[in-house]
């Protein structure tokens, strides 16, 4: 899936039809629940001097960003967000595999290409529990109509796993009406913003 700053994607099915889904996947991405996000992407290197969110869970920001090829990690604690610049970099047009695995009130593990990258202690400072979590993929700081349409990331996989198993999986091979079909059949679709 080619994504530009002009048209990022959102995992927010309730915004299309409130209450259609009894248990949307985004509602599970909370500080009091176990969850794991897997994402595979390529960074194209377009506009490296501008921040690019690979994914983020908002309104408290937990996610992954790139700025001048450098990897930034966001941690949405219950009190405030931390924005951490790492010493890790990405090369354009290289497939990257990241996973964020959250153990409530315990730790957040971030794994890059199969290797442990970071472990954040959450025992005394848990992640936030919010009313309406939303996942954005490929956003800039703001969604505005004058953003460029050039492709700056290609996402190959996005997956959410909880205790019961995988509840949302996208390989972006099946698209309907600018929505990516959730392979699990749970209707946790991603849709393109505009």
């Amino acid at each position: 899936m080619n994504i530009s700053r002009r048209n990022p994607w959102a995992l927010w099915p309730d915004s299309i039809c409130p209450s259609f889904l009894d248990n949307p996947a985004v509602d599970r991405l909370q500080g009091d629940q176990y969850w794991k996000i897997d994402i595979e992407f390529e960074y194209t290197g377009f506009a490296p001097d501008k921040q690019k969110d690979i994914f983020c869970v908002v309104p408290k920001y937990t996610g992954l960003s790139i700025f001048e090829k450098r990897i930034f990690v966001g941690i949405g604690y219950h009190d405030e967000d931390d924005w951490i610049g790492t010493d890790e970099f990405v090369e354009p047009n290289t497939v990257e595999k990241f996973s964020y695995e959250h153990f409530p009130n315990d730790k957040l593990l971030i794994v890059r290409n199969g290797s442990m990258l970071f472990e954040y202690d959450l025992i005394n400072r848990p992640l936030a529990v919010v009313d309406v979590p939303i996942v954005f993929i490929g956003t800039d700081k703001h969604i505005v109509s004058d953003q460029p349409e050039d492709i700056d990331i290609k996402v190959h996989l996005f997956k959410i796993t909880v205790e019961e198993g995988v509840i949302c999986e996208h390989d972006f091979k099946e698209l309907v009406h600018n929505k990516s079909i959730d392979k699990t059949g749970n209707c946790n679709f991603l849709y393109q913003l505009g």
């Binding site: 299309i16 039809c17 259609f20 309907v176 009406h177 600018n178 849709y191 393109q192 913003l193 505009g194």
Partner: protein, 458 residues
């Protein structure tokens, strides 16, 4: 939004716990049968001919209704409105009394009505009128009250052999619901035309329904009146129901008039309502008289010729809708895309408004085997994926209400209640057997999916 409704409820309750503006501000009048009600929850009551003779506004302001208004003004709850009292007494939800009173044609009338006397005549703001039951269709779920074709069939063959005595003329006569024949003078229509010049300037919304309205000369008479007298009410919201199965010259005539009304701002908005709830041969089986291909050609023509108008499909979702509703959703999205523009009165050029059929019970979706009910969920999921909102990159798609109504149909279908499935499956088969005989159709060929159930219960 709920804050607004809470405020409306408080305003209503200050006058009385049973006070509802709809009793004054809105009305549905079936001129073909002389029946009326102000909201769809209380059953319709007969309009006395003696009353309209001296006062044509008694089409709405019947003595019966005035007595109900008196009860409301005196702080009582009319018994006929028990649907709302049940909601209010057994839940924290707002009842339709609140929603209907909050409508734009009602709310600004609150103080005027509060200070009115119970026996005053009041010109309604929302009027729905059926001039007659003349119709060239006889849809499976319809009946003689609304279709002259049904009258012909029942007079020739009698009622259907179901436990409910479906479409029994005798029962209609007992309930005083037999319509006037097209050829007969109709005093209710005469009263309407006496009242109309006084009514028209006060209208917020006027909706013409049927029968098939385009087969009634009165429909064109009303439309031409609005063309000529629009300055008396340029803010009218006009709605026309049609089955879109009448001769082309009638559709063209309607479009020509609508063009004048729309292009010259003679109305505030104009919406066309129609119906279909399946695809192809299955749709034609349910809606006897329908030419499915022509139906869509007519919608295409209307949306092309009238770029500001929205067409609303009122889908009466029944047991025979489940197998092709998915395809109907594809067709609707095709038209939403083709005719999308930013000029329409409503958000979308074409709207699919799904409502499930509860009567007759033999066509209720609850009669279906469980595996067939799942088709409804599949359709709802398809509509969900075709959904869009203001943030979406595609500006056209199904709205949350359109999607939710399909999902609600599924929830209803699988919901457990005291619906007697066995009884109504048997009724369904008796109905279909007779229906095929009378209409020279072959159910098993058109609905092979239900052949097993049909043979089992036949």
């Amino acid at each position: 939004m709920s804050v607004i409704y809470k405020d409306v409820k408080n305003q209503l309750d200050k006058k009385g716990c049973g006070f509802c503006l709809a009793k004054w501000t809105q009305v549905t009048i079936h001129l073909g049968t002389g029946l009326t009600h102000s909201c769809h929850h209380p059953i319709q009551h007969k309009i006395p001919l003696t009353e309209i003779k001296r006062n044509p506004s008694a089409l709405h302001n019947t003595l019966y209704k005035k007595r109900r208004r008196k009860e409301m003004l005196d702080g009582k709850r009319p018994k006929e409105c028990d649907y709302c009292w049940n909601v209010e007494d057994n839940s924290n939800s707002f009842s339709d009394r609140v929603f209907k009173s909050a409508e734009p044609w009602s709310l600004d009338q609150m103080e005027t009505i509060k200070s009115s006397s119970w026996n005053e005549d009041y010109n309604p703001r929302y009027v729905e009128v059926s001039f007659s039951n003349t119709c060239n269709f006889k849809c499976a779920y319809c009946g003689p009250q609304y279709s002259s074709k049904w009258v012909e069939e029942i007079e020739k063959h009698g009622e259907y052999p179901t436990t409910t005595r479906f479409n029994s003329i005798e029962l209609l006569k007992q309930r005083n619901e037999m319509p006037f024949k097209h050829s007969e003078d109709n005093p209710y229509v005469e009263a309407f035309w006496k009242w109309w010049p006084d009514l028209y300037p006060d209208l917020h919304t006027f909706r013409i329904t049927g029968g098939e309205p385009l087969l009634s000369p009165n429909t064109f008479k009303v439309l031409e009146y609005i063309q000529k007298h629009h300055k008396q009410n340029p803010n009218l919201s006009l709605a026309i129901n049609t089955n879109l199965g009448v001769p082309k010259k009638l559709i063209d005539r309607m479009i020509d008039i609508c063009k004048d009304l729309v292009n010259n701002n003679k109305v505030r908005e104009l919406i066309i309502f129609t119906s279909v709830e399946a695809v192809g041969k299955q749709a034609e089986y349910v809606r006897t008289g329908l030419d499915y291909k022509q139906f869509w050609n007519n919608i295409d023509n209307i949306l092309t010729e009238l770029p500001k108008v929205t067409v609303n499909i009122m889908a009466a979702f029944n047991a025979l809708s489940v197998f092709t509703y998915n395809e109907l959703i594809d067709k609707v999205i095709e038209f939403k895309k083709k005719h999308h523009n930013n000029e329409r009165y409503w958000y979308t050029p074409l709207q699919l408004d799904t409502a499930y059929v509860r009567w007759p019970p033999h066509l209720n979706v609850k009669i279906l085997p469980d595996e067939h009910k799942e088709y409804i969920l599949t359709a709802a999921k398809k509509a969900l994926h075709y959904g869009s909102n203001q943030m979406s990159s595609l500006p056209y798609g199904f709205t949350d209400v359109e999607i939710q109504k399909i999902k609600r149909t599924y929830d209803y279908a699988i919901g457990k209640d005291n619906f007697d499935v066995e009884k109504y499956r048997k009724d369904f088969c008796k109905f279909i057997e007779e229906y095929d005989k009378r209409r020279d159709t072959k159910f098993e060929e058109i609905f092979p999916e239900l052949a097993d159930m049909y043979y089992e219960y036949k």
